[in-house]
Amino acid sequence: MEKLFEQLAYCIEFGKINKQSPYPPNMKDQEGAGELTGQLLDQGVSADDILQKALIVGMERVGVKFRENKVFVPQVLMSAKAMDAAMIQLKPHFANNPGSQKGTFIIGTVEGDLHDIGKNLVSMMVEGNGYEVIDLGTNVKAEVFIEAAEKNPKAVIGLSALLTTTMNNMEKITIAIKKHNKNTTVCVGGAPVNQEFCERIGADNYSPDPQGTVEFLNRTVA
């Protein structure tokens, strides 16, 4: 069993989706994340174990390599595709057992800002690390974050911004969220954001990369 978990983690790490997928070339014609997940389920392994012992392990390795510039966005996206091939099979099991995910993360690009690649990458990484992700999209107002947080009381909120001007909206939104419920945790990120700004606006975490957000969530939520 351990061997199968490791093989699946490897497929996620290197973006091997399924047997037909030609990527990565050194795994051509080998089984991918889709087949291995199916096999594990057939052997009666729980969806939760598959997630924790294989998928998250693989995704975490990708996150670390991305942070260290050892892989780039396309490789991360291939891993996300492999993750999807596995999650499609696991999701019906989670639907019967909602407690099996580590927590909920609500993410959006702040009001006034339409950039979404960075936000999407964070969203994929967090999801791949075992959290339910509610992606509110771009140009998201404070009220929308607050409404989502009300529906998901323990959720952590993630805000992304790519311009210094929209960082002002990040501040407004963080203040509004905290005013509504001071216990809501807010993470911030995006090219012009930094630790000093995070502290000044009263957010709880700044990460320059998706893996940092995952690690923060693992420390505080999971």
Partner: protein, 230 residues
Amino acid sequence: MDNLKTKHFTFQLKDLEISVELIEELARIDDSMPEYSRFLKEEIDSTLSLSQIEGGYTILPAQLDQNTIHIGDHCFNVGKSIANKFTNSTHIAIFTCTTGPLISDRLKELNSQGLILEAYLIDLLGSVMVEKAMDKLQAIIEAECTSKGVNITNRYSPGYMNWDVKEQKDLFAFLPENFCGIKLNESCLMTPVKSVSGFIGIGEKVRFIKHACQSCNSTNCLYRNSKNHC
């Protein structure tokens, strides 16, 4: 140099000479990755070929000091390092350029089909398109200036170095409303997203300084030290 009115140009995607290899290189797609060159070629040659790529500029007299550029009754606080690059400028070309909305529409479509890698490549293609169109616009400005015996500086945009993005509001005040179909929101974000704006200095004694990653403070930039940038 005489004050000139706003000039407007449209560009065809095929004339921007964007190679599939360039996009793959910027995306850092290496030989081990699945084949995306056919997809990119199809997008460039067909799907996105109708993109409404446009740009334009106006040239106005300007006065400079250590940190600022005065144009008409507006004072642009560009910061010392950008102001330095404009040394000896007597005029400024205020420009903007866009790929048009087609790229964003295509991105939405690809994302909604779960084609995330394809969407990423198209996003990157859009960024390259607007920069390449800007190269063309800059060449037009240069040709106009050289024919009048003056030189140009490189281009600089609000939001870079110490020049506040907020000053885009003042910049756009010099261009007709809805110029090139570009709208500026409260946060000074331009839509279509793949748009740029900025200044080019003009004068007999100005110097053209090539961009160098080492002198930019954006240490986490996507293009930093890439062969095809700067």
